[in-house]
């Protein structure tokens, strides 16, 4: 059966049924592509944990109580779980304690295959303005084929208008990207830092100045955006969210070498004699032979290096958190002191904001630094420095002027 080379028609894409443009139901697409569909469904049931990742929805604020102080006043201090497979996106966004009456429809932007059609029909502005509970009625499918592919051609496309806009703002047009670039950029539909702009809660990616942490900080400073006010330090804060794409693409070893997200998270697998991209997207450390083994001969060696890197980043991140907690507490104490110089307290708060958004860029990113080890450590080192400077400034506020 497998013996000879298979004839071309059996190997390629021979569609059985024609798919409607932006079809929200992945089962329909699955009729043509059973392997991709069945592996997509497997993301529902992944359970294994790795040292710093995996698919268990571990409650992070219990695992690391510093986070409660660090996020004081923000919904993330109430509920912050590790992410799991794409099939769970809808369940998880509906169940999180971070929701409130004011949650906008925007929160569905990265959770459902219904979006492309809804955005096409009602426009993103209208979608984002609709309250979350209201939008729920029209959202029935978790992440699926329509989030990443054009129907029938199966080309990778950008489906989230916010990404299209953000790239345009940088003078980039994704239609000119190579296929290998698309294997990364398609993940940037969702795995990126975002904020809700203005009253209409429009989804925007803060990339106008570029995508490094310094560029993003500059963007928020310029437009005056504030996610929340820290209830202990009083600083105007930014919450970073999953900047996987931004960290990875900041000249990391793998990015510069032309490696894509899909190379590691959707490696080619074989079913019979056919090779296809597994759509069971998960931690590559769970199956390093298929994932890393395609490029690295000595898989034990690279997995071991990955562990060393993650441990180095984790140790450093914990030191940064200790510094942040110290800064927050010192600012709070100084601010209460009637003799404190208010200008200096304000400077200390600005330093707290700068420190924490840097730390969060690495903490909210999902690979414990592996996606870009040296950049992660550079950023954490400067976050620690800024946090300690915030603490020093808060103490200075109590010194009599000379």
């Amino acid at each position: 059966i497998f013996i000879k080379n298979q004839a071309a028609p059996v190997r390629g894409i021979a569609p059985l049924v024609t798919i409607q443009a932006m079809e929200p139901n992945s089962a329909e697409w699955g009729k043509n592509f059973p392997n991709q569909y069945s592996t997509l469904l497997q993301t529902a049931d992944n359970k294994t944990r790795t040292t710093y990742g995996g698919s268990e929805p571990v409650q992070k604020i219990e695992a690391d109580p510093r986070l409660v102080t660090i996020f004081a006043g923000n919904p993330f201090s109430k509920d912050y779980k590790d992410d799991r497979g794409h099939q769970n996106a809808l369940i998880d966004v509906r169940e999180t304690n971070r929701l409130s009456d004011k949650t906008p429809g925007t929160c569905y932007s990265c959770k459902s295959a219904d979006n492309p059609k809804l955005w096409a029909n009602m426009g993103m502005e209208a979608y984002d303005k609709t309250p979350f509970s209201e939008m729920s009625k029209q959202i029935n499918n978790p992440i699926g084929c329509a989030n990443c592919h054009e129907a029938n051609t199966m080309r990778l496309i950008i489906t989230n208008p916010a990404l299209d806009t953000a790239l345009k703002a940088q003078g980039k047009d994704w239609h000119t990207f190579t296929r290998q670039e698309m294997r990364t950029v398609v993940c940037a539909n969702c795995h990126v830092e975002y904020y809700f702009q203005g009253e209409s809660k429009l989804l925007v990616f803060p990339w106008k100045n570029g995508t490094t942490i310094e560029d993003i900080e500059k963007y928020y400073t310029e437009n005056g955006f504030v996610d929340w006010t820290h209830t202990t330090s009083g600083a105007s804060m930014i919450k970073m969210q999953h900047p996987d794409y931004e960290l990875f693409s900041a000249s990391s070893t793998h990015y510069n070498a032309g490696v894509s997200c899909a190379d590691c998270h959707m490696p080619y697998t074989r079913a019979g004699a056919v090779k296809f991209s597994t759509h069971n997207v998960k931690s590559p450390l769970l199956e390093p032979n298929t994932s890393c083994g395609a490029c690295h001969t000595d898989v034990d060696y690279v997995v071991n290096r990955a562990k060393i890197i993650q441990n180095q980043v984790h140790t450093t991140m914990i030191s940064t958190e200790d510094a942040l907690v110290a800064a927050i507490e010192t600012i709070a104490t100084s601010a209460k002191d009637p003799k404190a110089d208010p200008a200096k307290i304000e400077e200390a708060r600005k330093l707290h904001r700068s420190a924490q958004l840097r730390w969060d860029f690495i903490a909210a990113e999902n690979s414990m630094g592996f996606h870009n080890p040296t950049e992660a450590l550079r950023i954490l080192a400067s976050a620690t420095d800024l946090a300690r400077k915030a603490q020093l400034k808060a103490l200075e506020a109590l010194q009599p002027a000379k």
Partner: protein
């Protein structure tokens, strides 16, 4: 009784011959690289070899089989057996990886062709514990990840 035994032996012979026929047995006796590429699981290594430095210098067997007559055909028979059984029964490792014996064979072949070049450095004063292709990682099959993964274009 007897006819049954003959029938059994006959079937066995037919089965073996069929096996040899469908697995394209005779091609394993030659040195043509397209033989190896017969199995499309080998597409990527073939493509890699085709685009890398040695295409005009060495075929698969120049590197992958020992160059004394008997070991050569022994290796061919052994790995040929591995290949066919693996392929027929679907135990195809993911990804393909050279076995330690294969590494030793390749190393000997590098040295066989490049004796003069390496005469000063491969003097065996102590076991260096590594292979030529630990440094020359791309000479045979091109860049990994570009060659070993099929159907991919490079970004730059």
């Amino acid at each position: 009784m007897k006819p049954l035994v003959f029938l059994g032996i006959g079937c066995l012979i037919v089965a073996i011959l069929t096996g040899l026929y469908v697995s394209d047995f005779t091609v394993y006796l030659g040195d043509d690289p397209t033989t190896c590429n017969n199995c499309h699981v080998m597409d990527a290594v073939y493509e890699g070899w085709f685009h890398a430095g040695h295409k005009n210098a060495a075929t698969c067997n120049d590197c992958h089989t020992p160059h004394d007559f008997i070991p050569k055909y022994f290796t061919k028979a052994k790995s040929g057996f591995n290949h066919v059984t693996a392929f027929t029964f679907g135990h195809i490792p993911e990804p393909l990886r050279a076995k330690p014996e294969t590494d030793e064979i390749i190393q000997a072949n590098c040295v066989r062709c490049h004796t003069e070049t390496v005469s000063m450095v491969a003097d065996g004063q102590a076991d260096s514990g590594r292979f030529c292709f630990d440094c020359h990682r791309t000479v045979a099959h091109g860049e990994r990840g570009i060659s070993i993964l099929p159907y991919q274009d490079k970004r730059r």
